[in-house]
Amino acid sequence: MSRLRDALERGDFVITGEVAPPLGTDLASMRTAVETVGPYCTALNVTDNQGATLHLSSLAASRELLDMGYEPIFQQTCRDRNRLALQSDLLAAWTLGLRNLLVVTGDDPRSGDHPQAKGVFDLDSTQLAGVAAGMNEGHDMLGRDLAGATDFYIGAALFPEAEPWDVQLARAERKVEAGVRFFQTQAIFDLDKLERAVAALEPSGAKVIAGVLVLRSPRVIDFINKRLAGLMVPDAVADRIRSATDPAEEAVRLATEQVRAVREIAHGVHVMPLGLDAEVPRILRDAGLADAE
């Protein structure tokens, strides 16, 4: 069963967080992050070689979360595997007990730590969602019966702030057609655009979990604006953090405001603490979300 699916379908406001598997085999720091953020979240995304940089696989790390008593959202990118490997990993994920799946295209290898790597992109994320939906119905990509089906709760990424919106919306609708039931958005700064996205997807029944970043320092902002694709921190927001006497504290305040606002619009919030994991409980509490302590 997927607690995430149950909560969203019940109409509960969900909280998701995010952990990155280590570069290596020592899981200690990932476990610490999980223990810090996990108790406040319905589920935690486990990234898959994020930023096209090498990490331990999301498959193994997701299983670790499960063993720790938390619910993972297994991420799968199209960049590193062809359709044989993707399908075989989906089957593996299900047998390992992973119930939530987030399919993403993946950053181009040229932007990561192995720029010489061949980007696979045998399938795109829309097609991969379709493959997973097929497995839920009991068949592989070729339509052959599986000895044992999956029942993934399938999610995808959504980019409410990246214009042109009509192109984004068309893409999101194709993802829904392919079998996507929930979206996690890129970081949100413009609440009107989030509202526009949630309203546009309302008829499809797909749930929208809005991303909130903790912009802990001017350096992080510069990094996002220069290096992170598909995201720009608006000037007003950047100025607010830059001119603060305590940028980290201001970032926590900003994130708290955003979480509170998102609560009125979306079906959940996805908190990306960018290292300020320890502040997540405070953000959620101050936003009126976390009753647990």
Binding site: D107, D108, E163, Q168, A170, R171, E177, G230
Partner: protein, 225 residues
């Protein structure tokens, strides 16, 4: 046409040194490599000058009409058979297909003098862009005549990806996202939004491609791989 680029000259010199070649014949190409400005007469002369400067003897040179054409290249080689016979190696300023044609035609060590880059559109004189990778399963019918397989750096059939910002591409940041262009052109032509495109049949492009028109004509089919 096939776009070629100059190859690391030190590597060419190493190739010749490794087999102890002292006398070299140079072969260019009168077709693509001439247009690309990499293997025409001026470039062949320049290569000869550089070789001589490096201490090699250039026994002769030729710029065949179409170097990847087996018959033509055999003929061209025959015209120069004395010079070639007196050479230790042949340097070919053409794409890899031309180099192999020469290597088949001449029983001497043959080395590539250029890097083969892509099948290019001539956008303007001297400006080439890759627009088609000859995938064998063309989707231009669905994408308003803009190829996502080639011109989207990730080759996504359904896009844009999450890296698109303000209509621009994540990877080639000074270019518009291909999927934004496709959506716009489809809309301009009243063809609606791009529908979902199914996973591609990459077997249509399995190596090595071959097409024998004599046989297909005999059988009355046009299947090529």
């Amino acid at each position: 046409m096939i776009i070629t680029k100059p190859r690391d000259w030190a590597r060419i010199e190493r190739n010749l040194t490794e087999i102890g070649a002292r006398r070299v014949f140079i072969m260019g190409c009168g077709q693509c490599a001439t247009v690309a400005g990499t293997g025409g007469e001026p470039e062949v002369r320049e290569a000869a000058r550089r070789l001589e400067e490096g201490g090699w003897e250039v026994t002769g040179w030729a710029v065949g009409e179409v170097t990847c054409h087996s018959g033509g290249t055999r003929l061209e080689s025959r015209k120069h058979d004395t010079e070639i016979a007196g050479s230790d190696a042949v340097l070919v300023l053409s794409c890899g297909a031309g180099v192999q044609t020469v290597a088949d035609a001449i029983a001497k060590p043959v080395f590539p003098g250029l890097e083969s880059a892509f099948l290019g559109n001539v956008v303007r004189h001297g400006v080439f862009e890759e627009r088609c990778q000859m995938c064998g399963d063309c989707v231009l019918d669905r994408t308003a005549g803009i190829c996502p397989v080639t011109t989207c750096p990730k080759g996504l059939l359904n896009g844009p990806c999450g890296g698109m910002w303000d209509g621009m591409c994540e990877v080639v940041a000074d270019r518009e996202c291909v999927h934004v262009r496709i959506a716009r052109r489809l809309a301009e032509q009243g063809r609606g939004a791009a529908g979902r495109i199914e996973p591609k049949d990459f077997s249509a492009k399995l190596k090595p491609g071959s097409l024998n028109l004599r046989e297909t004509r005999r059988r009355g089919t046009g299947d090529a791989r």
